[in-house]
Amino acid sequence: MKLITKTIFYYLLMCVPLILIAFSASYFLIKRAVNENLNEEIWNKKRKAETLIDSFKEPKEVFFSIDNLSSIKIDSTNGTGYKYKYLFKMDPEEGEQIWYWQLKSYYKSKGVNYLVTITEPKFENDDLIESLSQMLLLTIAFLIFSFFILNWIISRTLWRPFYKTIHALNIYDVKRGEALQLDKVKIKEFRQLNETLEEVTAKIRNDYKNIKEFTENASHETQTPLAVIKARLDLLLQSPNLKENDMKQLEVIEQSVAKLSSLNKALLLLAKIENNQFKEVEEVDLEAVINKTLLVYEDMISLKNIKVKRINKGSACMKINSLLADILISNLVQNAVRHNEANGSINIEIYPHSLVIANTGDPLTVDKEKIFERFRKNDGSKESLGLGLAIVKSILNAYNYKCNYEYLNGFHTFVLEF
């Protein structure tokens, strides 16, 4: 729900009882005023009737108003005092039933008791309620309408810096390493918001940078002890006193060191890509890179008896660092070879702005959304470090290129768009 909608909702919620109170209050006040007026009218008429009675030379009965509703009659019951009465009867002129107010009072003049009846229509009150309701409805409608207009104008002008800030945050990416730049606004709250956001993002940026540098430094620092272990193993292997069992132990150590070493290299590479350390970008002809890469893997390809099919639908030039292009293609081809089956095939399709590398193989055992994550391995791929596709993703991310994976007709299909 937008802020403006919410505001109006609360405004209306608050307005309803207020309007009701105002409505009833004005209704009762006006009703009382009208009634008082009516009452006064009746008493005036009563006084006029009494003056009229006083002027009678002899007792008689008369109607003294035009509408024949008020009358003077001779009373034989000797009644005293007065009595109000409400009547609901036909109004001859309007042709409908309306309310009347009737005052009956007794008056004694020259020894004769008179009953004075004064009847006044009360229809003004109904009209009053009707017009009052109309007025109030109109007021509410006007209020809501003007509030919408006002809020629209306010949100267009007053909230503009806020929406600008949201937009800036939306497109902000801490990985790019740039500072978040927000406008200097006059409204204090928004200025505070922007300043706070700038401070917070600066801190996050700094932390992120530190972590990345840490990864890189840690990988570098690991190289030296690894180099020592590797060198010492090479020396130890030359010892004439080693028995078969010692050699077997050494082999395990060798393998683990080799794995650790490649793991370290891969992590260092990832850190470097994320630190944007491969700055030079050039137009790289992917076909040449693919040819070069297939040579590296020729042994693996022929051992598994994999058929490589190539389809060229134009020359694919990718704007990328040339070293990263090598690594990118190498990782994809490696993936296609390593996770292939014996006598399988690899299809490579080159288009001007996309590249498809597909290989036969069993379906994934892991979620396909997760194959680009670090250390995410399909079951049974022991040789794999689980970093190859993470590196692919990381390289493509650095240039805002896309890579999609699908399992189509028995083929693991990777589509690169650039």
Binding site: A227, E251, K265, Y297, D299
Partner: protein, 229 residues
């Protein structure tokens, strides 16, 4: 042959010295920039191994000094950073080769040998080992004076074995030599076996002694008792 090892990490320095000493080199070492600078100014070396990151200075500056002084020594840069920039800068300064930590000592040895061969003999740098003769310039191998046709990998393998004869070479070291940076991508061990099997077959077919020994599961040894040279 005199080799200078400029490396600040003591254990690595010692390992390199030991391996190269066993290869018959006269090995000296320096552990920081100043000592390295001093030694290179005073003595002549055939080959200098220099680490880029050194206490009190940058290894690349030593390369610069050497080339400025017109030194004939072959220079191999050792770096912990697998950085293309360092590599390019180093080679621009006049270094002859570049090797990234962590590396296998037989690899370093093979690089030194190849470098010295290139430096010392102009054009005529034939390697002879009993009945095997290799001309690296032409990538030509002859056994008992008949030419041996080898694939690229088999040739690299033979040269590597010859450079590290009588040494136990682990499969990892061999894989790294054959595939370089791609070694950890190609799951090389199965292919090493295939290549070695083919190489051995070809050598034996030409009447060559079977020098290649399998050392349990770990690797191979090109065991040669040199008779006439």
């Amino acid at each position: 042959m005199k080799v200078l090892v400029i490396e600040d990490e003591a254990e690595l320095r010692r390992s390199i010295k030991e391996y190269l000493h066993n290869e018959g080199y006269l090995v000296e070492s320096a552990n920081d920039f100043n000592k390295a600078s001093e030694k290179t100014n005073v003595y002549e070396y055939d080959c200098i191994l220099v680490d880029i990151t050194l206490p009190h200075g940058n290894g690349l500056d030593i390369v610069k000094q050497l080339k400025k002084a017109g030194s004939e020594a072959g220079v191999i840069i050792i770096s912990a950073k697998n950085s293309l920039d360092d590599k390019i800068t180093g080679l621009e300064y006049g270094a002859d080769d570049y090797i990234t930590k962590p590396f296998h000592l037989p690899e370093l040895n093979a690089r030194i040998k190849s470098l010295l061969r290139r430096k010392r003999f102009d054009g005529n740098n034939r390697i002879t080992l009993n009945e095997i003769s290799i001309e690296p310039e032409k990538r030509l191998v002859t056994v008992k004076n008949t030419e041996l046709i080898l694939t690229g990998k088999e040739y690299d393998l033979l040269l590597y074995f010859v450079a590290n004869k009588n040494r136990v070479l682990s499969k990892n070291a061999i894989a790294e030599h054959l595939w370089g940076d791609d070694a950890d991508r190609v799951d090389g061990h199965d292919f090493i076996y295939t290549h070695i099997k083919n190489l051995r077959k070809k050598l034996i077919e030409k009447g060559c002694t079977d020098y290649l020994q399998t050392i349990y599961g770990i690797g191979y040894n090109f065991k040669v008792n040199e008779t006439n040279n």
